[in-house]
Symmetry: C2
Subunit: 318 residues, 2 copies
Protein backbone atom coordinates (compact mmCIF):
# COMPACT_ATOMS: atom_id res chain seq x y z
CA UNK A 1 0.00 0.00 0.00
CA UNK A 2 1.54 3.32 -0.99
CA UNK A 3 1.75 5.85 1.84
CA UNK A 4 1.19 9.62 2.02
CA UNK A 5 3.74 11.98 3.50
CA UNK A 6 2.23 12.35 6.97
CA UNK A 7 1.87 8.55 7.36
CA UNK A 8 5.40 8.01 6.09
CA UNK A 9 6.85 10.48 8.60
CA UNK A 10 4.82 8.85 11.38
CA UNK A 11 6.18 5.44 10.38
CA UNK A 12 9.76 6.70 10.21
CA UNK A 13 9.48 8.50 13.55
CA UNK A 14 8.35 5.21 15.12
CA UNK A 15 11.28 3.22 13.69
CA UNK A 16 13.97 5.84 14.30
CA UNK A 17 14.68 5.27 17.97
CA UNK A 18 15.78 8.17 20.16
CA UNK A 19 19.13 7.40 21.73
CA UNK A 20 21.14 10.56 22.19
CA UNK A 21 20.75 12.88 25.14
CA UNK A 22 22.42 15.58 23.04
CA UNK A 23 19.32 15.89 20.84
CA UNK A 24 16.48 18.01 22.24
CA UNK A 25 14.23 17.71 19.18
CA UNK A 26 14.59 15.11 16.43
CA UNK A 27 11.97 14.34 13.78
CA UNK A 28 8.87 16.55 14.08
CA UNK A 29 9.86 20.21 13.69
CA UNK A 30 11.37 22.30 10.88
CA UNK A 31 14.84 21.16 11.94
CA UNK A 32 16.52 18.99 14.56
CA UNK A 33 17.79 20.79 17.64
CA UNK A 34 20.80 19.84 19.76
CA UNK A 35 21.36 20.78 23.40
CA UNK A 36 24.17 23.19 22.46
CA UNK A 37 21.87 25.15 20.08
CA UNK A 38 22.98 23.40 16.89
CA UNK A 39 20.15 23.16 14.37
CA UNK A 40 20.12 20.76 11.37
CA UNK A 41 17.72 20.47 8.46
CA UNK A 42 17.74 18.56 5.20
CA UNK A 43 15.71 19.01 1.99
CA UNK A 44 15.75 17.42 -1.45
CA UNK A 45 14.80 18.97 -4.80
CA UNK A 46 14.37 17.01 -8.02
CA UNK A 47 14.00 18.25 -11.58
CA UNK A 48 10.47 17.74 -12.83
CA UNK A 49 9.16 17.43 -9.27
CA UNK A 50 10.41 20.56 -7.49
CA UNK A 51 11.70 22.69 -10.30
CA UNK A 52 11.26 23.09 -14.00
CA UNK A 53 14.24 24.22 -16.05
CA UNK A 54 12.01 25.35 -18.90
CA UNK A 55 11.40 28.61 -17.05
CA UNK A 56 14.13 28.67 -14.39
CA UNK A 57 17.82 29.33 -14.99
CA UNK A 58 20.19 26.95 -13.20
CA UNK A 59 21.44 29.76 -10.98
CA UNK A 60 17.82 30.27 -9.85
CA UNK A 61 17.41 26.53 -9.26
CA UNK A 62 20.42 26.65 -6.95
CA UNK A 63 19.38 29.86 -5.23
CA UNK A 64 15.81 28.67 -4.61
CA UNK A 65 16.98 25.39 -3.12
CA UNK A 66 19.31 27.14 -0.67
CA UNK A 67 16.57 29.67 0.21
CA UNK A 68 14.12 26.87 0.96
CA UNK A 69 16.55 24.95 3.13
CA UNK A 70 17.76 28.01 5.03
CA UNK A 71 14.12 28.90 5.69
CA UNK A 72 13.98 25.90 8.05
CA UNK A 73 16.91 27.43 9.92
CA UNK A 74 14.94 30.70 10.17
CA UNK A 75 11.98 28.70 11.43
CA UNK A 76 14.04 27.69 14.49
CA UNK A 77 15.20 31.29 15.11
CA UNK A 78 18.76 30.31 14.22
CA UNK A 79 21.51 31.77 12.05
CA UNK A 80 23.05 29.50 9.37
CA UNK A 81 26.60 28.20 9.82
CA UNK A 82 26.99 26.02 6.72
CA UNK A 83 25.30 24.40 3.74
CA UNK A 84 26.10 20.89 2.45
CA UNK A 85 25.15 19.85 -1.07
CA UNK A 86 24.58 16.35 -2.44
CA UNK A 87 24.39 16.93 -6.17
CA UNK A 88 22.80 14.38 -8.48
CA UNK A 89 24.04 15.23 -11.93
CA UNK A 90 23.03 13.76 -15.31
CA UNK A 91 25.80 12.46 -17.58
CA UNK A 92 27.14 15.05 -20.02
CA UNK A 93 26.33 17.99 -17.77
CA UNK A 94 28.44 20.91 -18.93
CA UNK A 95 31.00 22.65 -16.79
CA UNK A 96 29.19 25.99 -17.20
CA UNK A 97 25.91 24.45 -15.98
CA UNK A 98 27.58 23.24 -12.80
CA UNK A 99 29.16 26.66 -12.43
CA UNK A 100 25.84 28.46 -12.78
CA UNK A 101 24.12 26.17 -10.28
CA UNK A 102 26.79 26.66 -7.61
CA UNK A 103 27.04 30.41 -8.24
CA UNK A 104 23.30 30.63 -7.48
CA UNK A 105 23.73 28.66 -4.26
CA UNK A 106 26.80 30.62 -3.19
CA UNK A 107 25.05 33.97 -3.79
CA UNK A 108 22.34 33.14 -1.25
CA UNK A 109 24.92 31.84 1.24
CA UNK A 110 26.79 35.14 0.95
CA UNK A 111 23.71 37.09 2.10
CA UNK A 112 23.94 35.34 5.44
CA UNK A 113 27.71 35.18 5.76
CA UNK A 114 27.67 31.42 5.40
CA UNK A 115 29.10 29.01 2.82
CA UNK A 116 28.85 25.71 0.96
CA UNK A 117 31.04 23.77 3.36
CA UNK A 118 30.93 20.32 1.81
CA UNK A 119 29.00 17.86 -0.28
CA UNK A 120 28.93 14.92 -2.58
CA UNK A 121 28.44 14.55 -6.29
CA UNK A 122 26.96 11.51 -8.01
CA UNK A 123 25.80 10.54 -11.48
CA UNK A 124 22.02 10.42 -11.90
CA UNK A 125 19.56 10.31 -14.81
CA UNK A 126 17.90 13.45 -13.43
CA UNK A 127 19.25 16.66 -11.91
CA UNK A 128 18.69 16.74 -8.16
CA UNK A 129 19.93 18.48 -5.06
CA UNK A 130 19.82 17.26 -1.47
CA UNK A 131 20.77 20.10 0.82
CA UNK A 132 21.58 20.07 4.50
CA UNK A 133 21.86 23.33 6.38
CA UNK A 134 23.32 23.80 9.85
CA UNK A 135 22.48 26.68 12.14
CA UNK A 136 23.15 27.92 15.63
CA UNK A 137 20.74 29.50 18.08
CA UNK A 138 20.70 30.57 21.70
CA UNK A 139 16.91 30.86 21.80
CA UNK A 140 15.31 28.17 19.64
CA UNK A 141 11.63 28.45 18.78
CA UNK A 142 9.56 25.34 18.13
CA UNK A 143 6.23 24.56 16.45
CA UNK A 144 4.98 23.32 19.78
CA UNK A 145 5.10 26.60 21.71
CA UNK A 146 1.88 28.34 20.61
CA UNK A 147 -0.34 29.11 23.63
CA UNK A 148 -4.06 29.82 23.96
CA UNK A 149 -4.54 33.59 23.97
CA UNK A 150 -1.68 34.19 21.48
CA UNK A 151 -2.10 36.20 18.30
CA UNK A 152 -1.17 34.48 15.00
CA UNK A 153 1.12 36.54 12.74
CA UNK A 154 2.77 36.14 9.35
CA UNK A 155 5.53 37.99 7.52
CA UNK A 156 5.14 39.11 3.88
CA UNK A 157 2.22 38.06 1.69
CA UNK A 158 0.24 34.84 1.52
CA UNK A 159 0.68 32.85 -1.74
CA UNK A 160 2.89 35.47 -3.39
CA UNK A 161 5.52 32.90 -4.44
CA UNK A 162 2.94 30.65 -6.12
CA UNK A 163 1.52 33.72 -7.87
CA UNK A 164 5.00 34.28 -9.29
CA UNK A 165 5.45 30.65 -10.29
CA UNK A 166 2.21 30.58 -12.25
CA UNK A 167 2.90 33.98 -13.85
CA UNK A 168 6.27 32.65 -15.04
CA UNK A 169 4.86 29.33 -16.15
CA UNK A 170 2.00 30.86 -18.12
CA UNK A 171 4.21 33.61 -19.53
CA UNK A 172 2.02 36.39 -18.11
CA UNK A 173 3.11 40.03 -18.32
CA UNK A 174 6.19 39.80 -16.19
CA UNK A 175 6.33 43.50 -15.22
CA UNK A 176 3.08 43.39 -13.27
CA UNK A 177 4.15 40.18 -11.55
CA UNK A 178 7.79 41.13 -10.98
CA UNK A 179 7.61 41.13 -7.17
CA UNK A 180 5.77 37.79 -7.15
CA UNK A 181 8.20 36.21 -9.61
CA UNK A 182 11.09 37.38 -7.46
CA UNK A 183 9.53 35.71 -4.41
CA UNK A 184 9.24 32.47 -6.40
CA UNK A 185 12.69 32.59 -7.99
CA UNK A 186 14.61 33.71 -4.92
CA UNK A 187 12.51 33.51 -1.75
CA UNK A 188 15.07 35.04 0.62
CA UNK A 189 14.59 33.23 3.93
CA UNK A 190 13.40 35.37 6.84
CA UNK A 191 16.48 34.80 8.97
CA UNK A 192 17.12 38.41 9.90
CA UNK A 193 13.41 38.87 10.65
CA UNK A 194 13.32 35.75 12.83
CA UNK A 195 16.35 36.85 14.84
CA UNK A 196 14.86 40.30 15.33
CA UNK A 197 11.41 39.03 16.35
CA UNK A 198 12.78 36.11 18.42
CA UNK A 199 12.23 37.53 21.92
CA UNK A 200 8.50 37.95 21.22
CA UNK A 201 7.86 34.72 19.29
CA UNK A 202 6.18 31.72 20.97
CA UNK A 203 5.35 29.02 18.36
CA UNK A 204 7.07 29.27 14.97
CA UNK A 205 7.03 27.56 11.57
CA UNK A 206 7.86 28.67 8.03
CA UNK A 207 5.19 28.60 5.33
CA UNK A 208 6.54 26.03 2.92
CA UNK A 209 3.55 23.69 2.41
CA UNK A 210 0.64 26.17 2.31
CA UNK A 211 -1.09 28.20 5.05
CA UNK A 212 -3.70 25.57 5.96
CA UNK A 213 -1.10 22.80 6.24
CA UNK A 214 1.52 24.88 8.06
CA UNK A 215 -1.02 26.35 10.51
CA UNK A 216 -2.19 22.77 11.03
CA UNK A 217 1.34 21.77 12.11
CA UNK A 218 1.42 24.62 14.64
CA UNK A 219 -2.00 23.61 16.00
CA UNK A 220 -1.16 19.90 16.21
CA UNK A 221 2.30 20.28 17.73
CA UNK A 222 1.11 22.88 20.26
CA UNK A 223 -2.16 21.11 21.06
CA UNK A 224 -4.22 24.24 20.40
CA UNK A 225 -6.93 25.57 18.07
CA UNK A 226 -5.87 28.16 15.52
CA UNK A 227 -8.45 30.58 14.14
CA UNK A 228 -7.50 32.43 10.96
CA UNK A 229 -9.28 35.69 10.19
CA UNK A 230 -9.96 35.73 6.42
CA UNK A 231 -10.31 39.52 6.25
CA UNK A 232 -6.91 40.04 7.87
CA UNK A 233 -4.84 37.96 5.43
CA UNK A 234 -2.15 39.98 3.63
CA UNK A 235 -3.03 39.29 0.00
CA UNK A 236 -1.10 41.07 -2.75
CA UNK A 237 -3.21 42.68 -5.51
CA UNK A 238 -1.32 40.67 -8.13
CA UNK A 239 -2.47 37.44 -6.46
CA UNK A 240 -6.11 38.53 -6.80
CA UNK A 241 -5.45 39.46 -10.41
CA UNK A 242 -3.75 36.16 -11.23
CA UNK A 243 -6.64 34.16 -9.81
CA UNK A 244 -9.03 36.19 -11.98
CA UNK A 245 -6.82 35.80 -15.04
CA UNK A 246 -6.42 32.01 -14.61
CA UNK A 247 -9.89 31.37 -13.23
CA UNK A 248 -8.64 30.06 -9.89
CA UNK A 249 -10.58 30.13 -6.64
CA UNK A 250 -8.80 32.81 -4.57
CA UNK A 251 -9.54 31.31 -1.16
CA UNK A 252 -8.38 27.84 -2.14
CA UNK A 253 -5.30 29.38 -3.71
CA UNK A 254 -4.44 31.27 -0.49
CA UNK A 255 -4.80 28.27 1.78
CA UNK A 256 -3.03 25.69 -0.37
CA UNK A 257 -0.16 27.52 -2.10
CA UNK A 258 3.25 26.64 -0.69
CA UNK A 259 6.84 27.79 -0.88
CA UNK A 260 6.28 31.34 0.38
CA UNK A 261 8.96 30.67 3.01
CA UNK A 262 7.53 33.34 5.28
CA UNK A 263 7.42 33.11 9.07
CA UNK A 264 4.12 31.99 10.60
CA UNK A 265 4.23 32.45 14.36
CA UNK A 266 2.33 33.20 17.51
CA UNK A 267 3.04 35.95 19.98
CA UNK A 268 1.42 37.44 23.05
CA UNK A 269 0.26 40.44 21.00
CA UNK A 270 0.14 41.30 17.28
CA UNK A 271 3.60 42.47 16.27
CA UNK A 272 4.57 45.31 14.00
CA UNK A 273 7.95 46.13 12.59
CA UNK A 274 9.10 49.30 10.87
CA UNK A 275 11.61 47.26 8.85
CA UNK A 276 9.38 44.62 7.28
CA UNK A 277 5.80 43.49 6.82
CA UNK A 278 4.23 41.54 9.69
CA UNK A 279 0.49 41.06 9.88
CA UNK A 280 -1.78 39.74 12.63
CA UNK A 281 -3.94 37.12 10.89
CA UNK A 282 -5.66 35.21 13.65
CA UNK A 283 -5.64 33.90 17.17
CA UNK A 284 -4.86 30.83 19.25
CA UNK A 285 -7.43 29.21 21.54
CA UNK A 286 -7.93 26.02 23.55
CA UNK A 287 -9.00 23.14 21.35
CA UNK A 288 -7.64 21.66 18.14
CA UNK A 289 -7.52 22.13 14.38
CA UNK A 290 -7.41 25.14 12.11
CA UNK A 291 -10.55 27.24 11.72
CA UNK A 292 -11.44 30.08 9.40
CA UNK A 293 -13.48 33.11 10.48
CA UNK A 294 -15.08 34.60 7.36
CA UNK A 295 -18.00 37.05 7.28
CA UNK A 296 -18.85 36.27 10.89
CA UNK A 297 -18.96 32.49 10.24
CA UNK A 298 -16.51 29.94 11.59
CA UNK A 299 -15.59 26.83 9.57
CA UNK A 300 -13.00 24.11 9.80
CA UNK A 301 -10.06 24.54 7.43
CA UNK A 302 -8.64 21.19 6.34
CA UNK A 303 -4.99 20.96 5.25
CA UNK A 304 -5.03 21.46 1.48
CA UNK A 305 -1.35 22.18 0.96
CA UNK A 306 1.44 20.23 -0.56
CA UNK A 307 1.84 16.52 0.25
CA UNK A 308 5.31 15.54 -0.91
CA UNK A 309 4.24 11.97 -1.64
CA UNK A 310 1.44 13.23 -3.68
CA UNK A 311 -1.38 10.90 -4.80
CA UNK A 312 -3.92 12.52 -2.49
CA UNK A 313 -2.85 16.09 -3.17
CA UNK A 314 -5.93 18.20 -2.59
CA UNK A 315 -4.91 20.87 -5.03
CA UNK A 316 -2.75 19.63 -7.90
CA UNK A 317 -0.54 22.39 -9.24
CA UNK A 318 -2.20 24.12 -12.22
CA UNK B 1 31.95 19.67 -21.90
CA UNK B 2 31.05 17.03 -19.33
CA UNK B 3 33.31 17.00 -16.29
CA UNK B 4 34.85 14.20 -14.19
CA UNK B 5 34.49 14.07 -10.45
CA UNK B 6 37.88 15.58 -9.52
CA UNK B 7 37.39 18.50 -11.94
CA UNK B 8 33.86 19.06 -10.69
CA UNK B 9 35.00 19.20 -7.07
CA UNK B 10 37.79 21.58 -8.05
CA UNK B 11 35.28 23.84 -9.82
CA UNK B 12 32.87 23.76 -6.88
CA UNK B 13 35.63 24.47 -4.35
CA UNK B 14 36.58 27.55 -6.39
CA UNK B 15 33.01 28.89 -6.49
CA UNK B 16 32.09 28.08 -2.89
CA UNK B 17 33.71 31.00 -1.09
CA UNK B 18 35.03 30.53 2.44
CA UNK B 19 33.35 32.99 4.79
CA UNK B 20 33.00 31.49 8.23
CA UNK B 21 35.74 31.53 10.81
CA UNK B 22 33.91 28.70 12.56
CA UNK B 23 34.89 26.25 9.80
CA UNK B 24 38.43 24.83 10.02
CA UNK B 25 38.10 22.54 7.01
CA UNK B 26 35.43 22.82 4.31
CA UNK B 27 35.50 21.01 0.97
CA UNK B 28 38.55 18.74 0.56
CA UNK B 29 38.56 16.10 3.30
CA UNK B 30 36.26 13.22 4.22
CA UNK B 31 34.06 15.63 6.17
CA UNK B 32 33.87 19.31 7.06
CA UNK B 33 35.34 20.26 10.43
CA UNK B 34 34.19 23.08 12.70
CA UNK B 35 36.30 24.81 15.34
CA UNK B 36 34.28 23.20 18.16
CA UNK B 37 35.01 19.68 16.84
CA UNK B 38 31.74 19.26 14.94
CA UNK B 39 32.19 17.09 11.84
CA UNK B 40 29.70 16.97 8.93
CA UNK B 41 29.58 14.71 5.89
CA UNK B 42 27.01 14.07 3.19
CA UNK B 43 26.64 11.20 0.70
CA UNK B 44 24.06 10.23 -1.89
CA UNK B 45 23.07 6.74 -3.06
CA UNK B 46 20.86 6.02 -6.06
CA UNK B 47 19.25 2.78 -7.18
CA UNK B 48 20.94 1.44 -10.30
CA UNK B 49 24.04 3.55 -9.65
CA UNK B 50 25.06 2.70 -6.07
CA UNK B 51 22.93 -0.27 -5.24
CA UNK B 52 21.06 -3.00 -7.00
CA UNK B 53 17.89 -4.33 -5.41
CA UNK B 54 18.06 -7.52 -7.43
CA UNK B 55 20.54 -8.93 -4.89
CA UNK B 56 20.20 -6.57 -1.91
CA UNK B 57 17.28 -6.45 0.54
CA UNK B 58 16.01 -2.97 1.35
CA UNK B 59 17.23 -3.27 4.93
CA UNK B 60 20.72 -3.92 3.52
CA UNK B 61 20.40 -0.92 1.20
CA UNK B 62 19.65 1.27 4.23
CA UNK B 63 22.34 -0.31 6.41
CA UNK B 64 25.04 0.02 3.73
CA UNK B 65 24.24 3.65 3.10
CA UNK B 66 24.50 4.54 6.79
CA UNK B 67 27.74 2.51 7.08
CA UNK B 68 29.26 4.38 4.14
CA UNK B 69 28.32 7.79 5.48
CA UNK B 70 29.43 7.07 9.04
CA UNK B 71 32.75 5.84 7.64
CA UNK B 72 33.52 9.50 6.78
CA UNK B 73 32.94 10.33 10.44
CA UNK B 74 35.41 7.56 11.38
CA UNK B 75 37.86 9.03 8.87
CA UNK B 76 37.96 12.24 10.95
CA UNK B 77 38.46 10.29 14.22
CA UNK B 78 35.02 11.41 15.41
CA UNK B 79 32.03 9.70 17.02
CA UNK B 80 28.63 10.09 15.31
CA UNK B 81 25.95 12.28 16.91
CA UNK B 82 23.16 12.04 14.33
CA UNK B 83 22.10 10.89 10.86
CA UNK B 84 19.76 12.87 8.56
CA UNK B 85 18.00 11.17 5.65
CA UNK B 86 16.63 12.71 2.48
CA UNK B 87 14.62 9.91 0.97
CA UNK B 88 13.67 9.90 -2.70
CA UNK B 89 10.84 7.44 -3.01
CA UNK B 90 9.07 6.12 -6.13
CA UNK B 91 5.28 6.40 -6.28
CA UNK B 92 3.47 3.33 -4.97
CA UNK B 93 6.26 2.36 -2.59
CA UNK B 94 4.76 0.05 0.01
CA UNK B 95 4.67 0.80 3.70
CA UNK B 96 6.65 -2.37 4.48
CA UNK B 97 9.41 -1.35 2.04
CA UNK B 98 9.83 1.97 3.82
CA UNK B 99 9.81 0.12 7.11
CA UNK B 100 12.52 -2.31 6.01
CA UNK B 101 14.74 0.49 4.68
CA UNK B 102 14.55 2.52 7.89
CA UNK B 103 14.98 -0.56 10.10
CA UNK B 104 18.26 -1.22 8.27
CA UNK B 105 19.42 2.34 8.82
CA UNK B 106 18.35 2.38 12.45
CA UNK B 107 20.15 -0.89 13.17
CA UNK B 108 23.52 0.58 12.16
CA UNK B 109 22.83 3.79 14.13
CA UNK B 110 22.14 1.67 17.21
CA UNK B 111 25.64 0.15 17.05
CA UNK B 112 27.08 3.60 17.68
CA UNK B 113 24.45 4.91 20.07
CA UNK B 114 23.27 7.42 17.52
CA UNK B 115 19.97 7.96 15.69
CA UNK B 116 18.10 9.13 12.60
CA UNK B 117 17.47 12.65 13.86
CA UNK B 118 15.68 14.17 10.90
CA UNK B 119 15.13 14.14 7.19
CA UNK B 120 12.97 14.84 4.23
CA UNK B 121 10.92 12.64 1.94
CA UNK B 122 10.13 13.41 -1.69
CA UNK B 123 8.56 11.63 -4.64
CA UNK B 124 11.05 10.45 -7.27
CA UNK B 125 11.02 8.05 -10.23
CA UNK B 126 13.95 6.17 -8.64
CA UNK B 127 14.75 5.14 -5.08
CA UNK B 128 17.52 7.28 -3.63
CA UNK B 129 19.00 8.29 -0.31
CA UNK B 130 21.00 11.40 0.53
CA UNK B 131 22.48 11.00 3.98
CA UNK B 132 24.17 13.56 6.18
CA UNK B 133 26.00 12.42 9.29
CA UNK B 134 27.21 14.63 12.11
CA UNK B 135 30.03 13.74 14.46
CA UNK B 136 32.04 15.20 17.30
CA UNK B 137 35.75 14.93 17.94
CA UNK B 138 38.33 16.41 20.29
CA UNK B 139 41.25 15.26 18.16
CA UNK B 140 40.37 15.44 14.45
CA UNK B 141 42.62 13.71 11.94
CA UNK B 142 42.92 15.03 8.38
CA UNK B 143 44.10 13.67 5.05
CA UNK B 144 46.77 16.33 5.04
CA UNK B 145 48.76 15.19 8.08
CA UNK B 146 50.91 12.34 6.66
CA UNK B 147 54.62 13.08 7.19
CA UNK B 148 57.75 11.77 5.45
CA UNK B 149 59.11 8.90 7.51
CA UNK B 150 55.62 7.65 8.52
CA UNK B 151 54.46 4.09 8.01
CA UNK B 152 51.27 3.52 5.99
CA UNK B 153 48.72 1.22 7.64
CA UNK B 154 45.29 -0.17 6.82
CA UNK B 155 42.63 -1.96 8.86
CA UNK B 156 40.93 -5.13 7.61
CA UNK B 157 41.43 -6.54 4.10
CA UNK B 158 41.93 -4.81 0.76
CA UNK B 159 39.04 -5.27 -1.72
CA UNK B 160 37.10 -7.64 0.51
CA UNK B 161 33.82 -5.71 0.04
CA UNK B 162 34.08 -5.82 -3.75
CA UNK B 163 34.84 -9.53 -3.52
CA UNK B 164 31.55 -9.92 -1.67
CA UNK B 165 29.63 -7.76 -4.14
CA UNK B 166 30.78 -9.82 -7.11
CA UNK B 167 30.18 -13.10 -5.30
CA UNK B 168 26.61 -11.98 -4.61
CA UNK B 169 26.06 -10.62 -8.08
CA UNK B 170 27.34 -13.74 -9.83
CA UNK B 171 25.58 -16.05 -7.39
CA UNK B 172 28.81 -17.79 -6.33
CA UNK B 173 28.85 -20.30 -3.47
CA UNK B 174 27.84 -17.98 -0.69
CA UNK B 175 29.33 -20.02 2.17
CA UNK B 176 32.91 -19.58 0.97
CA UNK B 177 32.34 -15.87 0.44
CA UNK B 178 30.27 -15.25 3.56
CA UNK B 179 32.78 -12.90 5.23
CA UNK B 180 33.26 -10.94 2.00
CA UNK B 181 29.53 -10.68 1.37
CA UNK B 182 29.05 -9.42 4.92
CA UNK B 183 31.64 -6.71 4.32
CA UNK B 184 29.76 -5.65 1.19
CA UNK B 185 26.27 -5.82 2.66
CA UNK B 186 27.06 -4.20 6.00
CA UNK B 187 30.52 -2.62 6.05
CA UNK B 188 30.53 -1.57 9.72
CA UNK B 189 32.46 1.70 9.81
CA UNK B 190 35.72 1.65 11.79
CA UNK B 191 34.63 4.23 14.34
CA UNK B 192 35.69 2.32 17.44
CA UNK B 193 39.01 1.47 15.78
CA UNK B 194 39.62 5.10 14.78
CA UNK B 195 38.94 6.36 18.30
CA UNK B 196 41.25 3.74 19.77
CA UNK B 197 44.09 4.39 17.31
CA UNK B 198 43.60 8.19 17.30
CA UNK B 199 46.55 9.20 19.48
CA UNK B 200 48.97 7.47 17.09
CA UNK B 201 47.38 8.45 13.76
CA UNK B 202 48.85 11.25 11.62
CA UNK B 203 47.13 11.38 8.19
CA UNK B 204 43.81 9.51 7.83
CA UNK B 205 41.27 8.63 5.15
CA UNK B 206 38.75 5.82 4.69
CA UNK B 207 39.01 3.46 1.73
CA UNK B 208 35.83 4.20 -0.18
CA UNK B 209 37.10 4.78 -3.73
CA UNK B 210 39.83 2.13 -4.04
CA UNK B 211 43.35 1.90 -2.58
CA UNK B 212 45.15 3.71 -5.42
CA UNK B 213 42.67 6.61 -5.41
CA UNK B 214 42.43 6.93 -1.63
CA UNK B 215 46.21 6.71 -1.13
CA UNK B 216 46.44 9.35 -3.86
CA UNK B 217 44.25 11.69 -1.79
CA UNK B 218 46.52 11.21 1.23
CA UNK B 219 49.62 11.89 -0.89
CA UNK B 220 48.16 14.97 -2.60
CA UNK B 221 46.66 16.56 0.51
CA UNK B 222 49.79 15.93 2.58
CA UNK B 223 52.24 16.85 -0.18
CA UNK B 224 54.15 13.58 0.18
CA UNK B 225 55.04 10.43 -1.76
CA UNK B 226 53.37 7.23 -0.68
CA UNK B 227 55.05 3.90 -1.41
CA UNK B 228 52.87 0.79 -1.15
CA UNK B 229 54.55 -2.54 -0.57
CA UNK B 230 52.72 -5.11 -2.74
CA UNK B 231 53.86 -8.10 -0.65
CA UNK B 232 52.52 -6.56 2.55
CA UNK B 233 48.93 -6.00 1.38
CA UNK B 234 46.37 -7.88 3.50
CA UNK B 235 44.57 -9.89 0.81
CA UNK B 236 41.91 -12.39 1.84
CA UNK B 237 42.17 -15.87 0.25
CA UNK B 238 38.62 -15.53 -1.05
CA UNK B 239 39.65 -12.43 -3.02
CA UNK B 240 42.40 -14.41 -4.77
CA UNK B 241 39.93 -17.18 -5.46
CA UNK B 242 37.27 -14.82 -6.85
CA UNK B 243 39.74 -13.25 -9.26
CA UNK B 244 40.68 -16.72 -10.49
CA UNK B 245 37.06 -17.77 -10.77
CA UNK B 246 36.03 -14.63 -12.70
CA UNK B 247 39.28 -14.21 -14.64
CA UNK B 248 40.07 -10.82 -13.11
CA UNK B 249 43.55 -9.34 -12.75
CA UNK B 250 44.23 -9.54 -9.00
CA UNK B 251 46.51 -6.49 -8.81
CA UNK B 252 44.12 -4.26 -10.71
CA UNK B 253 41.29 -5.56 -8.55
CA UNK B 254 43.17 -4.71 -5.34
CA UNK B 255 44.05 -1.18 -6.38
CA UNK B 256 40.73 -0.17 -7.90
CA UNK B 257 38.03 -1.83 -5.77
CA UNK B 258 36.17 0.60 -3.54
CA UNK B 259 33.70 0.60 -0.66
CA UNK B 260 35.86 -1.35 1.79
CA UNK B 261 35.34 1.50 4.28
CA UNK B 262 38.53 0.57 6.13
CA UNK B 263 40.90 3.11 7.70
CA UNK B 264 43.99 3.99 5.65
CA UNK B 265 46.37 6.05 7.77
CA UNK B 266 49.92 6.96 8.53
CA UNK B 267 51.67 6.69 11.84
CA UNK B 268 55.19 7.08 13.20
CA UNK B 269 55.54 3.30 13.42
CA UNK B 270 53.57 0.32 12.14
CA UNK B 271 50.69 -0.28 14.56
CA UNK B 272 49.31 -3.49 15.86
CA UNK B 273 46.18 -4.10 17.84
CA UNK B 274 45.09 -7.18 19.73
CA UNK B 275 41.43 -6.27 19.09
CA UNK B 276 41.39 -5.92 15.31
CA UNK B 277 43.44 -6.34 12.14
CA UNK B 278 45.87 -3.54 11.29
CA UNK B 279 48.62 -4.05 8.73
CA UNK B 280 51.63 -1.96 7.79
CA UNK B 281 51.44 -1.72 3.98
CA UNK B 282 53.94 0.95 3.00
CA UNK B 283 55.76 4.12 3.84
CA UNK B 284 55.69 7.88 3.38
CA UNK B 285 58.55 9.82 1.83
CA UNK B 286 59.32 13.27 0.46
CA UNK B 287 57.98 13.72 -3.06
CA UNK B 288 54.59 13.16 -4.63
CA UNK B 289 52.27 10.49 -6.02
CA UNK B 290 51.57 6.90 -5.12
CA UNK B 291 54.19 4.27 -5.96
CA UNK B 292 54.14 0.50 -5.81
CA UNK B 293 57.12 -1.58 -4.67
CA UNK B 294 56.76 -5.05 -6.20
CA UNK B 295 59.51 -7.67 -6.52
CA UNK B 296 62.18 -5.05 -5.86
CA UNK B 297 60.85 -2.74 -8.59
CA UNK B 298 59.21 0.64 -8.03
CA UNK B 299 56.46 1.88 -10.37
CA UNK B 300 53.96 4.72 -10.33
CA UNK B 301 50.43 3.71 -9.33
CA UNK B 302 47.82 5.85 -11.06
CA UNK B 303 44.41 6.30 -9.43
CA UNK B 304 42.22 3.57 -10.91
CA UNK B 305 39.39 3.68 -8.40
CA UNK B 306 35.87 4.90 -8.60
CA UNK B 307 35.08 8.22 -10.31
CA UNK B 308 31.54 9.13 -9.28
CA UNK B 309 30.91 11.01 -12.53
CA UNK B 310 31.97 8.04 -14.44
CA UNK B 311 32.78 8.28 -18.17
CA UNK B 312 36.51 7.92 -17.60
CA UNK B 313 36.22 5.17 -15.04
CA UNK B 314 39.41 3.16 -15.35
CA UNK B 315 37.87 -0.05 -14.20
CA UNK B 316 34.16 -0.36 -14.95
CA UNK B 317 32.46 -2.67 -12.50
CA UNK B 318 32.32 -6.23 -13.85
Amino acid sequence: MPVGEAKAIELIARIARRRSREIVMGIGDDAALYRDGLVVTTDAYLEGVHFDRSYLELSAVGARAVCGTLSDIAAMCARPIGVFVSLMVPPRTARRDLRELYLGMDAVCSLFDTEIAGGDIIASPRLGLALTALGKTRAPRLRSAARPGDRLCVTGHIALAETGRLALKHGLNSKKYRRAIERHVCPIPRIKEALRLAPRIHGLIDTSDGLSTDAGHLATESGVRIVIDRAALPVAPETVELCLELGLDLDRFLFSSGEDYELLFTSQSALRSPQFAVTGVGSVARGSGVWLRDNGKLRRLRPSGYDHLGPKRANPKP
